[in-house]
Each structure stands twice: as structure tokens, then as C-alpha cells.
């Protein structure tokens, strides 16, 4: 059964058809949520909320790309989850010193495993990118995740975030510049095919 049939049946109230659609897109939905939330449990919560919300809003589906429509709901669920987290910020686990006193700084949580001397595996590359993504402002991160990770076009992103396409373009450009700056320190550790033009750039700049 193709996607259009599933959608038709789901809109008519067929729960099995709806669940088939969920199975079809849950990985990309979760991945998008994870890249935005940077937390697996929060991403799972956002994805589940998005699925429930999608079920409620099925009557409002007016055609077009179902994936984009679903990702738009996922993005909104992520926004809601982020807002909830801001209202009820989680208290980070703080380690104790040898004397049993709490260490107030959260620097201990920083992942130092991706040091320049260490080999950058695929997992470490992912971690480095995720850390840089986390450093981005929420509005830049969402746009970048939707375009570069979820593979959405500018129109779909503009629709998802409720902003004009010009805003998407400017946010994406700024996000990529920031990402490039952030990854600058780890670029040398990237596989050759991912490395930027190191020396050439400096020569050019001078």
C-alpha cells in the first residue's frame, strides 16, 4: 500500500493505516527531534507528542508532502518541549569533591574525549557536530537541522517555523557560518574529504 492510500485511510479514521505512517516516518522524526533537542529522552517525548498531535490534526491535512507536514509538527513539538524545559529547567547532576562538597561548575560535564590528539571516529565526529549544533541559538539550530539533517527544502522550513523564506535563508547562512567557526578547531581531525581549505585560506586571506 502506498503512502497516499495510507493517508486516505488514516484520515478516515483507520488507526492501523495511521500507525503504518508513523512507522514509515518515525526514524526521521526522532532524528530531527534528537538533533534539535540534543537529548534522547526529550527527543522521544517530543516525537511521541508529535505523533499524538498528528493524529488529532489529521483532519487538517491538506495534501502536499506528508513528511514535511509531519516534520513541521515534530518541530513544533520540539519548540514546546524546549519551552517547557525553560520553564522547568533541569538541575544538572553535580559531582562531589573528595570532601563531599558539591562542585558547582558544570565543566565536568564537558566532553573532553574529542581532543585533538585522539582519533576522531565517526561517533566522535557526530558528537563534535552535535556539540556545535547545541551551541547554536535555537532558531538557527532548527533551520539547520531541518535543511541539512532532515533534508527539507526552504519552503517547508519556512512553513514549519512560520517565517518567510528570506528568514530561512539568512538564518541558515548564519548557522552555517557559526557551525564552520565552531568546527574550526576539530576540522583538522576530520577525514580528509571533510577538511576545509586550511593553508590555502590563510594564504588567500593574507
Amino acid at each position: 500500500m502506498n503512502e497516499a492510500d495510507l493517508i486516505d485511510r488514516a484520515v478516515q479514521g483507520d488507526l492501523d493505516a495511521f500507525n503504518d505512517l508513523v512507522l514509515l516516518y518515525q526514524d526521521i522524526a526522532y532524528n530531527t527531534a534528537y538533533r534539535i533537542m540534543a537529548d534522547s529522552s526529550a527527543a522521544a517525548d517530543a516525537t511521541q507528542e508529535a505523533v499524538i498531535s498528528m493524529y488529532r490534526k489529521l483532519d487538517g491535512y491538506r495534501g502536499g508532502s506528508f513528511k514535511s507536514w509531519f516534520l513541521r509538527i515534530v518541530t513544533n513539538a520540539c519548540y514546546d518541549e524546549l519551552r517547557r524545559n525553560r520553564r522547568r529547567p533541569t538541575v544538572p547532576l553535580e559531582p562531589e569533591t573528595d570532601d563531599g562538597e558539591l562542585i558547582e561548575s558544570a565543566d565536568w560535564m564537558e566532553d573532553k574525549s574529542a581532543g585533538p590528539e585522539e582519533t576522531l571516529s565517526q561517533k566522535e565526529l557526530e558528537l563534535a557536530i552535535q556539540n556545535c549544533l547545541n551551541d547554536l541559538e535555537e532558531k538557527f539550530r532548527v533551520v539547520m537541522v531541518m535543511v541539512d539533517i532532515s533534508g527539507e527544502n526552504y519552503d517547508a522550513v519556512a512553513s514549519a517555523i512560520g517565517r518567510p523564506i528570506g528568514t530561512v535563508k539568512s538564518r541558515l547562512a548564519r548557522a552555517r557560518l557559526k557551525m564552520q567557526d565552531c568546527l574550526q578547531g576539530t576540522m583538522e581531525l576530520l577525514p580528509d574529504k571533510f577538511r576545509p581549505m586550511g593553508e590555502e585560506k590563510d594564504d588567500f586571506a593574507s
Binding site: L15, Q26, S40, Y55, I149, Y154, Q180, K193
Partner: protein, 275 residues
């Protein structure tokens, strides 16, 4: 990244859109011309392409579990789907209604103030009209006597109506037409005995009361009568009515609407947070 510092934000946006195939044909060819001329853009293009490849190369996270809905979850999801929009719209409607009432009441008050001078003058005008009507002979009229009735002007007091024989000649008739002493004396009032002829002064008894500014001396300083309209409205009361016109809607209705708006709004907020 030094090369990027030389790229304008506009060029950077075009560069990203170029990489993502989001430019129109015209924009694309225009940008490619610009790209061919600028080494900075060419380097930046290579960097940005590598960055995108790097980001897109990270493995996608698999969903840790299935997010499908059970029948019970689906029923629960469907159950509450109307409540949030229902309460939201009800709250918005209550607020809108309240706003409309307030605005119309404000406009009404302004209209009332604008027309107040006319309204306040109405009783005053009515007072004059009523007093004129009330001044008809059925009651004691307010009279201010500026001269004696039937007394002719100083210059023509000798004229006597032709009906003088048929009607009683009022007292003081013909005063000022000539010397009072010229008339016949001793004629009874109201009983003319002969037709006066031209040149004769009718015999009229004349009182010798002096007249000052057309008022008899004995009537000076007397208040003949004062008159009020049938329903006298004090000006202070009119002023109060203008200052505080009655509202269109009672405060209870407004309070009820405001209360409903708050209750519905809180319910919507609760449902929204509970989602």
C-alpha cells in the same frame, strides 16, 4: 574562515541557496557569473560544501521505540482534541464581546456628551414655552405693566374707536391726548351718554397717579407674580445627568463576560500545558 569574512551576508545567503539548489534559473546564472569572477566566493563554496557534506554524513538516529498509538491512546487523543480549541475560542469570543461592549459604551458616552448642550437647553426652552401657555388668562398671568392698559400713546391719545358707544369706555382712555381737564367731567364710567365728536375729548376719569418709566408709582417694587414651568428641573441635576450618563450594559453583564473570558482562558491554558 578568513575568506568568509570577506563575503557579504547577501552573498553568503546566495551561496547557501546555491548549494541547496534553492535558486531560480535566473538567480543561479547570475550567481554563477559572480562566482566565476570571485576567488573568495569559490573558496567559500568549497568550504561550505564540505561543511554540508560533513553534517549530512553523520548517521541518523534510529527511533528507540515505536511511537505508534494503541486504540486506547488514539481514543484519548481524539477525546480532548475539541476542548482546547473550544475553550480558546470561547475565551477569545468573550474578550471580543467585552471589548465591543466597552467600545460602544465609550462611543455612546461621547455621543451623549456631544449632544448634552442641546438636551440641557430643552427644559429651559420648554420652560419658556410652558410659561407662555400657562400665562393664558385662565390663571393669574405674570404681568409686568409698563403702561396702563388702553392708554394711548402720548401723541395720539385722542383717537376713540368707533365702538366706543357699544362698549364701555375703559377708564383712563385717551390719556395723553390732551389736557384731562378738557373732557367732560362727571360722566359715569361705562355709560357713555353721547357720541363724542371729532375734536372733543371724551370724558374720562383720570387718576392723578404719577407714572415712572411706565409703571404706576403705587406699583413700583411689587412682584406681580413669578412663574415656573410645570416640572422644574434644576440645572445641577441636568449637569449631573450629562456628566454621568447611564451605561448601555449593566456592570453585572460586563463582569460576567470578563469572568467567562478568564475562566475559558485558564481552561485553555491548562489544556495546552497538559498536552
Amino acid at each position: 574562515m578568513i575568506s568568509q569574512a570577506r563575503i557579504s551576508p547577501k552573498d553568503m545567503e546566495e551561496l547557501c541557496a546555491y548549494i541547496d539548489n534553492e535558486l531560480t534559473e535566473q538567480e543561479r546564472s547570475s550567481f554563477e557569473e559572480k562566482l566565476a569572477r570571485s576567488v573568495v566566493l569559490q573558496k567559500a563554496l568549497i568550504d561550505q560544501r564540505k561543511l554540508c557534506e560533513t553534517i549530512r554524513a553523520i548517521p541518523a538516529r534510529k527511533a528507540p521505540r515505536n511511537f505508534t498509538l494503541t486504540t486506547l491512546e488514539a481514543r484519548e487523543a481524539r477525546k480532548g482534541r475539541f476542548l482546547l480549541p473550544l475553550f480558546s475560542w470561547a475565551s477569545v469570543l468573550a474578550v471580543a464581546l467585552l471589548a465591543v461592549l466597552m467600545v460602544s459604551e465609550f462611543a455612546f458616552k461621547n455621543f451623549a456628551v456631544a449632544t448634552a448642550p442641546m438636551e440641557t437647553q430643552a427644559p429651559i426652552l420648554a420652560m419658556g414655552a410652558e410659561s407662555d401657555l400657562a400665562a393664558e388668562p385662565t390663571t393669574n398671568p405674570p404681568l409686568i405693566t409698563w403702561s396702563y392698559p388702553y392708554v394711548g400713546g402720548g401723541a395720539g391719545g385722542s383717537g376713540l374707536p368707533n365702538t366706543a358707544q357699544a362698549q364701555p369706555i375703559p377708564p383712563y382712555y385717551g390719556l395723553g391726548g390732551g389736557p384731562a381737564a378738557a373732557g367732560k367731567q362727571g360722566v359715569e364710567e361705562g355709560t357713555p351718554t353721547e357720541t363724542p365728536t371729532v375734536g372733543e375729548t371724551p370724558a374720562v376719569p383720570v387718576e392723578a397717579t404719577p407714572i415712572i418709566f411706565g409703571i404706576r408709582e403705587d406699583a413700583l417694587g411689587q412682584v406681580i407674580e413669578t412663574s415656573h414651568p410645570a416640572e422644574f428641573v434644576p440645572l445641577t441635576q441636568i449637569a449631573e445627568a450629562v456628566a454621568e450618563p447611564q451605561g448601555l450594559v449593566s456592570p453585572a453583564v460586563k463582569l460576567t463576560l470578563a469572568g467567562l473570558a478568564v475562566v475559558f482562558g485558564l481552561a485553555a491554558l491548562f489544556l495546552y500545558r497538559k498536552r
